[in-house]
Subunit: 308 residues, 2 copies
Amino acid sequence: MKSNKTINIIGTVAFDSIETPKGAFPRIIGGSGTYASLAASIFSPVNLISIIGEDFPAATIKEFNSRGINTDGVETINGKTFHWSGYYLGDMNQAYTKETELNILTKFNPVLPEAAQNAEITFLANIDPDLQQQVIGQLKNPKLIILDTMNLWIENKFAELKNVLGLVDILMINFEEIKLLTGLTNVVQAAKELTKLGPKIIIVKKGEHGSLMYHNQGYFALPAYPLAEVEDPTGAGDTFAGSFTGYLAQFDNITNDILRTALVIGTMTSSYTVQGIGIDKIKSIKKDDLTQRIQKYKEITAVANINF
Amino acid sequence: MKSNKTINIIGTVAFDSIETPKGAFPRIIGGSGTYASLAASIFSPVNLISIIGEDFPAATIKEFNSRGINTDGVETINGKTFHWSGYYLGDMNQAYTKETELNILTKFNPVLPEAAQNAEITFLANIDPDLQQQVIGQLKNPKLIILDTMNLWIENKFAELKNVLGLVDILMINFEEIKLLTGLTNVVQAAKELTKLGPKIIIVKKGEHGSLMYHNQGYFALPAYPLAEVEDPTGAGDTFAGSFTGYLAQFDNITNDILRTALVIGTMTSSYTVQGIGIDKIKSIKKDDLTQRIQKYKEITAVANINF
């Protein structure tokens, strides 16, 4: 089944210019909102809240719509779309920024259409914590709010970020950023510590090393899907969070088992994203595509009954 | 049951002077052979092959013996025992060497007692590949040879290391070193590639990120046991490899399931090692101690049946 619950995703819709050890890919479609929405749309309809310039292709917006992504909340204004240029070296574990042209993103003032105001589930992708808080203030019936952030806000808007953390249920954060946010070097400890700031559930994204979840029922640790070839890691974290959120939207009562399954789903979908350039792979993934890879993942991670 | 098969472990028996963010621990007992033997002895009797100086405490040797570690192959010569001084910072993921006093280690010329020559299973901890090859040459009935190595030999004795790789069944190697050894940045690809050099099974140790195994039946990926407190990571890799080897010694036919279980065992025992200073924890671990932690690990890593 596909959920009837439409989720909100607030994030960027952008152009990315990416260089990997294998090639250069100028001005391809990117943005945290883009990846998260495409991934979430595997499971659930999406209200995407974002901002674009007049240079953004209408065909891509149509592609979003055809995936069940409602773009009424994507404002188009005079000017150029946000453009990130960056590159990856060697193991591609780290993105290096060449240039960030914010362009119209500086005017992003998220106003939720009525349908989005009434949505129960919201994923706040990595944007300014002030804007994240502004979105939360417009929600009339929030049941589940998931937030992602990054080093930029930890370093420059720590107080604002702390405020917004008090308002959300789940924090998604990467391995290096959780250390920066907490000042702790042990990530297992940091995840537990962070629940004191508000979010009941902490999810640490570790890229090729998998992920770790903490909540009051304990830890869940899982490896990544082993890939011998990675094309472009851009958007992996947003894909992870988006499909995680979309998957959860199918359930009225979210149990620990459902959360764990959602993390496996996030792991699977992000493994597709990194196998393509930009959104090339994730834009066409359907539920059925996941079945085989999930089976394979279970084989790769299965431990026999320990007998010793 | 404890195996009747006695395994060989060739490695260093040393003094370590360690500084962690929590304290300084001068001249404690260390060495790859020490950690590996103590861990292996949970499952199997051990012939330890090493070299010490006259300054090494007889009481520690007696402690080894009481754990089922035969030290007939530990030569004592005039001079000082190998002494490594190092420190860890922050997340303690990296050991920094302050000083390496090789002392009598430069005279290490491993000669296997007859019992060791006849042993079927041998773990060659991280020593000079020439010495590793010299040990292999003395084995009369080798069934399973497991080898560990390090950046020092990859950088300075690449040809010799390559030769010895052609003679072993299983390679244990850490995450950074496999990249150095293969020149590849993708570890999943590197593990597969390495089987072309001889070892049929490659095990990549990733510390707090768990481990990865590759052989002709595919990959096995597993997370580490999440620990909110780490006291001293010294010897974690040797503990991992030692208990892995000791566990395998219990079986005549080593299946994929047994290999996977051995990796879980390695994960568990190394989680004990890092919770103590030096050998403090691992020196007294018994099989029964592992039962509860294995159960906990299974809970922490369990994925529900995926239903979507």
